[in-house]
Symmetry: C2
Amino acid sequence: MPEATLYPLANYTFGVKEAQPEEDPSVHARLKRLQNDFEEHGMRRSVEAVLVVHEHNHPHVLMLQIANAFFKLPGHYIDPGMTEEEGLKVILNERLGPEDGVGDMEWEIGECLSTWWRPSFEQYMYPYVPAHITKPTERKRLFVVHLPPHKVLTVPRNMKLLAVPLFELYDNAARYGPQLSAIPHLLSRYDFNYEK
Amino acid sequence: MPEATLYPLANYTFGVKEAQPEEDPSVHARLKRLQNDFEEHGMRRSVEAVLVVHEHNHPHVLMLQIANAFFKLPGHYIDPGMTEEEGLKVILNERLGPEDGVGDMEWEIGECLSTWWRPSFEQYMYPYVPAHITKPTERKRLFVVHLPPHKVLTVPRNMKLLAVPLFELYDNAARYGPQLSAIPHLLSRYDFNYEK
């Protein structure tokens, strides 16, 4: 059984930094950019971080909430030529590192938890390559990122960073969507050590 | 990324053997037995096997269908004192091994895919220990079991062994329940090699 050590939410310090507005103004614009990038570079590779803390020995996942509405994991697509691990470190520094954008790149990237495939230039993704799809347009991977006992996380002003308990995510695709609501299943094979 | 090699469904030969009736005649009787066993031995440990094959390069999970109605993975609770791996081999031999019950015990038990916890003597299970539960009554673990290129699987007469595609399981808790419908998520981190 893989092990993971979790520290209390109260061990982490949260700062605020300049807003990081959405890259694309609409879903349509986002899918259009995907299509343009696909023509130039082929399949897009995206990565997302599952950062886990605990409160009273129950695991909580750190999630960004945008505009008091939808939730997402810290993540982004990565540059062609970067490994997923390098890319995720760059993204975590940008999203949760200090204001100056330099950061220490000291993120301990753990195992892949799941892979999602986008078969076309539509919104839907699946945790497998659908039948008859030979050229998926995007592959997204979720990685466990092991947090140290203490860390400062600096959050863009237009986002909130929330610790969402597994019992809130579980069986709650209505609120969190199919990807985030599956995180409790994906983490269930870990043996968690709850530290102080 | 962990790898797994899948062979076509047509590589496997299916036999029939004597029926293996349900141990308990009702849900009530099953939960009553759980309670009796718990008082004697403490938390029950159960194990289930996720056996994966492919058809046209799409993964399919082998599932038992009982009485033309509900689906389950090959599995059972194990004796106290047995490891989960030993226990699963014994169960697979009994459920899918040859009629004489001897079998070769040659089952390659892979990684744990998920863990489910039963907090009380009720039907519900969760992929985490619910808050304030200090003594769960049952822990069930799903393991990938790697199949060889060819094998004879002998199925009790009162069950059918079906190969259910991931696209059928996905997002289909209505038909398969919360545990089986999550298998596509759990398998998505594997890099599958589709062999002939």
